[in-house]
């Protein structure tokens, strides 16, 4: 128990060190450039302390609970004994890894829902749109995108195809969707791509990619292990734009139905 509290203390110190540049900068700008007192300074300081404590506890909890288990599962699922198919004829068929794709998709979905940065953006979007954007709807759309992205990303590692073909194809899809999607959602959709991959998702996804690349015969972890995060960034853009398009299309259809 004592040891656990000790770990907690060092996690808090680590977080303090990580945010010290930004706190210094905010204070300097407030004092030197704005030179006006903050509204509600006590509230803001209390909020900042909450955020610090929250991030430290969150990270420490992830380190204790989630990362070792995620790491272990990534290794167990990609182990040849588990797959049940000994590599023959120079390789395992891509469909032997079906559990890996399923695991990637479901862990991507679940960790995205737990991502604090995404919660923050969803709250802000709900506030700015005066409730037109439902935070849970947005987060589910992003999570579905991340799940799909990870499934495709693990498939890419297993088959060993080139990363940039997928990414560039994804960009093309995003561009076509942007042309047709409601303007209101575009900024939010682009943002949700970057937001998905944060504290929770990155370490688990990186472990999965590196583990998979070293377990699949013929793959090199250096060249093939990275890139999963790029998929997790790209696909939520597509899914959020798609979600908005479907919503807009349904509203249009209902309206034209009323006119008839």
């Amino acid at each position: 128990m004592n040891e656990w509290l000790h770990e907690l203390g060092s996690a808090l110190l680590e977080t303090l060190r990580a945010v010290s540049p930004i706190v210094t900068m905010l204070v300097l700008f407030q004092l030197l450039a704005i030179r006006k007192p903050l509204p509600n300074p006590r509230r803001i300081v209390v909020g900042f302390v909450y955020v610090l404590l929250g991030v430290a506890l969150f990270l420490q909890g992830l380190k204790i609970a989630l990362f070792p288990v995620g790491d272990l599962m990534a290794r167990q699922l990609t182990a040849p004994e588990f797959l049940g198919a000994a590599p023959h004829d120079g390789g395992v068929h891509w469909y032997a890894y079906i559990w890996v794709y399923l695991f990637a998709a479901s862990i991507g979905f679940a960790t995205t829902l737990a991502e604090p940065a995404l919660i923050a953006v969803a709250l802000k979007a709900a506030e700015v749109s005066a409730g037109a954007i439902n935070p849970w709807g947005l987060r589910l759309a992003v999570a579905c995108g991340a799940a799909l992205g990870l499934a495709v990303g693990t498939f890419r590692i297993v088959t060993g195809t080139d990363l940039h073909f997928y990414i560039i194809a994804g960009y093309v899809v995003v561009l076509i969707q942007t042309a047709f999607a409601p303007r209101m959602i575009v900024g939010l959709a682009y943002d949700s791509g970057g937001v998905t991959t944060s504290t929770v998702t990155v370490p688990i996804v990186t472990a999965l990619g590196l583990g998979l690349a070293s377990a699949v015969p013929g793959r090199n972890p250096l060249a093939d292990g990275f890139g999963l995060i790029a998929f997790t960034c790209l696909f939520p853009i597509i899914s959020v734009l798609g979600y908005a398009q479907i919503a807009a299309w349904r509203t249009r259809r209902n309206r034209s139905g009323d006119n008839d």
Binding site: A18, G47, L53, V69, A120, M184, V186, A223, G227
Partner: protein
């Protein structure tokens, strides 16, 4: 059990832990002048709870434990409904339920092995829930208002230069010490060493990792600057993003193959838990204080830049070295 009242301290303690802060003064007074205050303090809520009149007099120390417990129960359920912290605690549990479900499902049904160190797993999940709860509370109390009030202040000041310096410092400062970025940079340095790009020594690896971190932090600072200029000038977001994508594609053609995966990944890594709320609040605050901008259409998009620009910069870094 007898109907004798619980020790006075015990009841006071129960009230302290279950009542909200609005009553803190009342409780403090209560400690100062116990004999008179005690009667008022217990009698009023208890009457409400059980619909029975208890005379607020000195004898009310005789109120039975049963009444106190009933009153506390009713207070507690009202408290959970109205208290932000507890409501958020429940919401955090809901947020984390999918992760736990997925892990348990795969561990028990697919891999069919027990979770190692289950006690530590539970303790860790407890910390995660508590941390997420505090974080969301802090967002609404501190980070969002702070980012927005600073954005408003800069917009009122009307100095573009200060605004851009602030934007750059915000992007740079939140990224340079980001733990996820430090981890990725170290990993990239290891790979560069194994690939023979840099000399195989601790020192060259450290300087490579530091260089990469600074490249990424500079690129995020630059990205926030571009995003802020876009909001101020009102350029449509898709054009700027398309230009960025073209940049990524062009760099991909020229960059060494080993760096591409890391470069693409570093785009996602930079946007951390503290950067995102501050940068989002900056964008939304700016676009709501500049005339002719719509916070929904123009306010978002800064993070998209912050995850696009590092890809270009890291591939550039890989080409230089």
């Amino acid at each position: 059990m007898s109907e004798s009242p619980a020790p006075f301290e015990v009841r006071a303690w129960l009230i302290l832990v279950t009542r909200d802060l609005n009553n803190a003064t009342e409780i403090a007074d209560y400690w100062i002048e116990p004999s008179r205050r005690e009667a008022r303090f217990f009698a009023r809520p208890a009457r409400r709870a059980v619909g029975r009149t208890v005379a607020p007099n000195r004898n009310s120390t005789l109120i039975s434990n049963k009444i106190v417990v009933m009153w506390l129960k009713s207070r507690l359920s009202a408290y959970i409904r109205h208290n932000r912290f507890l409501r958020q605690l429940l919401a955090s549990m809901l947020d984390l339920a999918p992760v736990v479900t997925v892990i348990l499902f795969f561990q028990i049904l697919v891999i069919q092995q027990p979770i190692p160190e289950a006690g530590r797993f539970v303790w860790g999940m407890f910390l995660v829930v508590l941390g997420l709860t505090l974080f969301v509370q802090g967002l609404n109390l501190g980070l969002f208002p702070l980012g927005e009030s600073m954005a408003h202040a800069f917009a009122r000041k009307g100095s573009m230069l200060w605004l851009l310096v602030f934007a750059f410092a915000l992007g740079f400062g939140t990224t340079v010490a980001e733990p996820a970025l430090i981890a990725v940079a170290d990993e990239a340095a290891r790979i560069a060493e194994e690939g023979g790009v840099i000399a195989a020594s601790d020192e060259s690896r450290k300087s490579y990792a530091l260089g990469l971190r600074i490249a990424v932090a500079l690129s995020v600072g630059f990205a926030v600057v571009v995003g802020v200029i876009r909001i101020v000038r009102g350029w449509p977001l898709p054009y700027v993003i398309i230009a960025g994508y073209i940049g990524v594609v062009v760099m991909t053609v020229f960059a060494p193959r080993e760096i591409i995966g890391i470069a693409y990944d570093s785009g996602g890594v930079t946007t951390s838990t503290i950067t995102v709320p501050l940068v989002t609040a900056l964008g939304v605050g700016l676009s709501s204080s500049i005339q002719g901008r719509n916070p929904m259409i123009d306010g978002f998009g800064l993070i998209a830049f912050a995850s696009l620009m590092p890809m270009i910069f890291v591939m550039g870094y890989g080409m230089i070295l």
